[in-house]
Amino acid sequence: MKAHKATWMTATLILSLSLLGGCAFIRGSMGDAFKDEDVAALKKGVTTRAQVAARLGAPERILEANGYEIFQYYRYDVKSGMILFFSRTNVMGDDLYVMFNKKGVVDEVVFGKRTNRLKFQFWPFGD
């Protein structure tokens, strides 16, 4: 009986390994993750443009809208899964906008984090 059990377990193991042969999980990212303390340090009416640049580095983009100068920072995260002949790659980004008033002081901070909802998926159908 023990011999049968060992055979069965070996066969299951080989089957599992053969299925894993067509399997891949890949992770990539562009840019460093935003630290909560860095975002929290941006104080409206207090923090200056130079202090923002010193803390977060040079922005990826500098925009102008509604009379504001806006620093935009962003990063992207990628999770990709493949099993046999199905594969799915999900990409999401985090964006941080820091809006300055005419004096070059932070007036508003807009931060949105999507990457914490990013999933590994391999099934390419449905939503």
């Binding site: 080989i14 089957l15 509604n66 046999l84 002949f85 799915r88 964006d95 949105g112």
Partner: protein, 172 residues
């Protein structure tokens, strides 16, 4: 008096395991591929019903939908854009069936493949006080599909593989 029969269960299981292994090995170099790439989460019309022109602010929009991918200026005010994309690709290699019979060095691929990328954009225009003036979707979702037949003409009767409205022949 009952005669003790040899246990057949392990043999049956072994056959099933060997069969499954054979299927797995065939599929691991599979002639079929479905691939999909999704960038950002899809925003649906029902996700933006909370937005009221003249009332909702940028910060309320961000609280619900996250930060936009882009903010730009226009003569009418600032525009926030949320972009999301969905790309699908399908490939089948009919040459796979004769791979073992083809002499080395002779190409044996016979591939039909196709797909599409659907780009969607949701944009919200704000006034000088960051209050919503209007919002709108740019919809191209029907472009995202798997496509079995890469040609423009479709030789099969539509009742075999129906061609949906606004889709290319062989799209599914």
């Amino acid at each position: 008096m009952t005669e003790r029969q040899p246990a057949r269960a392990p043999i049956e299981w072994a056959r099933r395991v060997v069969g499954l292994m054979a299927v797995a090995l065939v599929l691991s170099g599979c002639p079929l591929q479905w691939q999909r790439i999704a960038i950002n989460e899809t925003i649906k019309p029902e996700d933006v019903t909370f937005i009221r022109a003249g009332k909702t602010t940028l910060f309320e929009v961000v609280a619900e939908l996250g930060a936009p991918d882009d903010i730009s200026d226009s003569l009418g005010g600032a525009v926030a854009r949320y972009r999301f994309r969905d790309a699908r690709y399908f490939r089948v290699n009919f040459g796979y069936a004769v791979k073992l019979l083809t002499p080395p060095g002779i190409p044996d691929d016979m591939v039909l493949a196709g797909g599409g990328t659907g780009t969607q954009e949701f944009h919200v225009m704000f006034d000088a006080n960051w209050v919503v003036q209007y919002h709108a979707f740019a919809l191209h979702l029907s472009a995202s599909h798997y496509r079995f037949w890469p040609f423009d003409t479709w030789p099969f009767y539509t009742y075999i593989i129906p061609v949906e409205e606004r889709r290319s022949p062989g799209a599914f």
